[in-house]
């Protein structure tokens, strides 16, 4: 009898565990830029979890089983797409056993479909060009104008998934759009004097940002996307920095700094190491502000 009671308790635990987890619908974002926007749009109506840590290069995330567990409980999955997460996300999705987040399900939102993409190949590509993305450059969230589009697109998808909370999603998205619009004017005015300023970046992950800010990207520390810098390439970049009088090198803090420091030191440039993603619980607007502030501090002589 005692054994039977124990069994009943165990069975109840198995039944209750998922119920407690479903108190609020769970929305999972692969990266914290999408997570930050989703958190703002979702408000108190959803629980947003981010799979990759903000200080982790989203190209190389371990497909930890704990992430499978997170995804197994999700009502929706927001991903960057364009193969940014190809090295870890597909196995998590399949292992999650969750039909709601499988490709093609309403809960699966590839956010690259919400914005206009850059660097969509116009010729046959292969990996001799480095780790290029066949669908286009996936770092679109670094342009705040895309941030507004993402907020709108995410709100619409959440509204479709949870119609009873649609008004809230749309209202919060509109509020974020308005806030971004208001801030854009200030950011653009502050950055205007630096339009056309040459800039070196580490990886081709800033093209949306430099297009918006009007800066001119004249090279990368990486010889090709995903490749470690070679001595010859570093010498070439250094030459560009000197010839073009490049004032700054911009890179995400998950890339090693010593090569960029060497170039900056010898080329008379500043190294700007900035967070590659919004931090835990950081608002998207504050993240863009942080990027703009860092850039302004680096460009002012």
């Amino acid at each position: 009898m005692k054994r039977f009671t124990k069994m009943k308790c165990l069975f109840a635990l198995f039944l209750l565990a998922p119920l407690s987890a479903l108190a609020k619908p769970s929305v999972v974002a692969t990266t914290s830029d999408l997570g930050s926007i989703a958190r703002e749009v979702g408000g108190d109506d959803v629980e947003v979890t981010v799979l990759a840590r903000p200080t982790q290069d989203p190209h190389f995330v371990d497909a930890k089983p704990s992430l499978v567990l997170t995804l197994s409980r999700a009502e929706a999955l927001l991903l960057t797409g364009l193969d940014l997460e190809v090295g870890w996300l597909p196995v998590l999705i399949t292992s999650s056993r969750n039909p709601k987040v499988q490709r093609g399900a309403p809960g699966y939102l590839d956010c690259s479909t919400l914005v206009t993409l850059l660097e969509v190949p116009t010729q046959k590509i292969d990996r001799s060009m480095g780790d290029v993305h066949a669908g286009g450059n996936p770092h679109y969230a670094k342009d705040p104008r895309n941030g507004a589009l993402l907020a709108r697109g995410i709100a619409e998808r959440l509204a479709q998934l949870f119609p009873d909370k649609a008004a809230g999603f749309r209202e919060r998205a509109t509020r974020l759009e308005m806030e971004l619009k208001a801030k854009l004017a200030g950011w653009e005015a502050a950055l205007k004097p630096f339009a056309g300023t040459p800039l070196i970046t580490y990886h081709r992950s800033w093209i949306y940002f430099t297009r918006w800010t009007g800066l001119r990207e004249v090279g990368q520390v990486e010889p090709k996307p995903g490749l470690q810098p070679s001595a010859g390439h570093v010498a070439q970049v250094l030459q560009t920095v000197r010839a073009e009088k490049v004032p700054a090198i911009l890179q995400e803090d998950w890339y090693a700094a010593s090569t960029s420091e060497l170039i900056a030191r010898n080329g008379g440039a500043k190294l700007l190491r900035v967070p590659g993603m919004p931090g835990d619980r950081q608002r998207y607007v504050d993240y863009v502000q942080q990027l703009v502030d860092a850039l302004l501090s680096g460009l002012k002589r």
């Binding site: 565990a17 497909a63 089983p65 704990s66 870890w88 399949t94 056993r97 990996r127």
Partner: protein, 404 residues
């Protein structure tokens, strides 16, 4: 002549317009003129998409073909002490150049309910189906079904492929218990993800017990008429994962396999396994990855007059201190078989130990060069057998992500 042409054109126009007229003839009078409706329809219609080159490329690339990838492993080997003993089927086996394997991997969604994966391995003398299975994606109650030919999820290394290993050869503990190909078979597997706060997965599979990949413990080359579930290999595993911190991860599992043995009528073999994987990978710009992997197997084989038991296992430690370099060391042990009097196989009476070290250079995720050396202490020989090889691996195409 001109009027004839005009007449023909008018007839053609009337004929082309006839279906539309026929359609409109049945339209009820809505109190609005057709022109007005057409104007409204035209206003609502989306603008025709402007053809662009990216779209043109997208249309060509977009297909329902599976994602394909090819992975080639070749090795230049030196084995001064003679050929390697009891090796995995795709280990470099002799001095000189060895084609370890060419793997063709294909994967795609079958429909909204299943995914399909196939791994075909081409070697110098033929092709083998390493794996070909469908995986369910939408079963209720957090269940997942796999059906087809697959590597069983016994332990940690068995279900993985050569290119995912830290060393370029199979751990001999696995080859000795399951055969040179690792443990696999045609069958079905059901797994369950427990709704607990940490990752707990229970796996059970039933597979055919014959074929090379079940050799040495189960039926091997002998074909067995299957009269009931007892004539199949049953494999169960419990897998757990703990995220100790952002940097530290711990995965461990317990496995058990049971099936008919070829040693005699109704003889059975049971294999018990335990595995542990501890990984340190800090966040940020630190490229360090340190991983400790341990696996142990205990086998009990029924023979006509008793039970043979033995132990085997390995421990390996890998360390990537900078990109793109990493080093690894491995120790392997196989005990002699207790109860193996009058043994035909020297492994039954003497222990075997092997020590290996490897240095890997990995310029990208798609290519890798590895220098590996090993000293194999076979208990029944006076001198260790030494081996060294330089392995080169390249991978092209869209290869799927690997599990943790």
């Amino acid at each position: 002549m001109r009027s004839t042409v005009h007449g023909a054109l008018a007839l053609g126009a009337w004929l082309l317009g006839a279906p539309a007229l026929a359609q409109d003839a049945g339209v009820p009078d809505a109190g609005v003129s057709l022109e007005e409706i057409e104007k409204a329809l035209a206003a609502d219609a989306p603008p025709p998409p402007a053809p662009s080159l990216p779209q043109a490329i997208g249309a060509v690339v977009q297909s329902l073909n599976p994602d394909l990838s090819l992975i080639a492993d070749v090795a230049l080997a030196a084995m001064p002490g003679g050929e390697r003993f009891g090796a995995g089927a795709h280990d470099p086996a002799r001095t000189g150049f060895n084609l370890q394997q060419l793997e063709l991997a294909a994967s795609a969604a079958v429909d909204p309910f299943f995914r399909f994966n196939a791994n075909l391995v081409f070697s110098k003398f033929g092709v083998e189906i390493e794996e070909a299975y469908a995986t369910s994606t939408s079963l209720p109650f957090r269940l997942q079904l796999r059906a087809g030919q697959f590597l069983t999820r016994f332990g940690r290394q068995n279900s993985t492929h050569l290119h995912a290993w830290t060393f370029s050869d199979a751990a001999f503990a696995l080859a000795r218990v399951f055969g040179a190909e690792g443990n696999r078979g045609v069958g079905a597997e059901l797994s369950y993800l427990a709704p607990l706060p940490w990752y707990v997965e229970a796996v059970a599979s039933l597979t055919e017990a014959d074929g090379e990949a079940s050799a040495r413990s189960f039926m091997g080359a002998r074909e067995l008429p299957v009269r009931g579930p007892a004539d199949l290999q049953l494999t169960t595993a419990l897998k757990q994962f703990h995220e100790l911190s952002d940097a530290w991860s711990l995965a461990w599992g317990l496995s058990w396999a049971s099936g008919p043995a070829s040693t005699g009528y109704r003889n059975r073999t049971e294999v018990y396994g335990a595995d542990l994987y501890l990984k340190f990978r800090p966040l940020g710009d630190d490229p360090t990855v340190v991983a400790l992997q341990l696996e142990t197997l205990h086998r009990r084989r029924q023979v006509p007059h008793g039970v043979l038991t033995d132990w085997g296992g390995y421990a390996q430690l890998s360390w990537r201190w900078t990109l793109p370099w990493s080093v690894a060391g491995r120790y392997e042990l196989g005990t002699p078989e207790i109860g193996g009097a009058g043994a035909l196989d020297p492994q039954w009476v003497s222990a075997r130990q092997r020590v290996s070290a490897a240095v890997t250079y990995e310029p990208t995720e798609f290519s890798r060069v590895r220098l590996q050396a090993a000293s194999d202490f076979l208990g029944w020989e006076t001198r260790p057998r030494l081996s060294a090889f330089l392995m080169f691996e390249v991978s092209v195409g869209a290869h799927g992500a690997h599990p943790f």
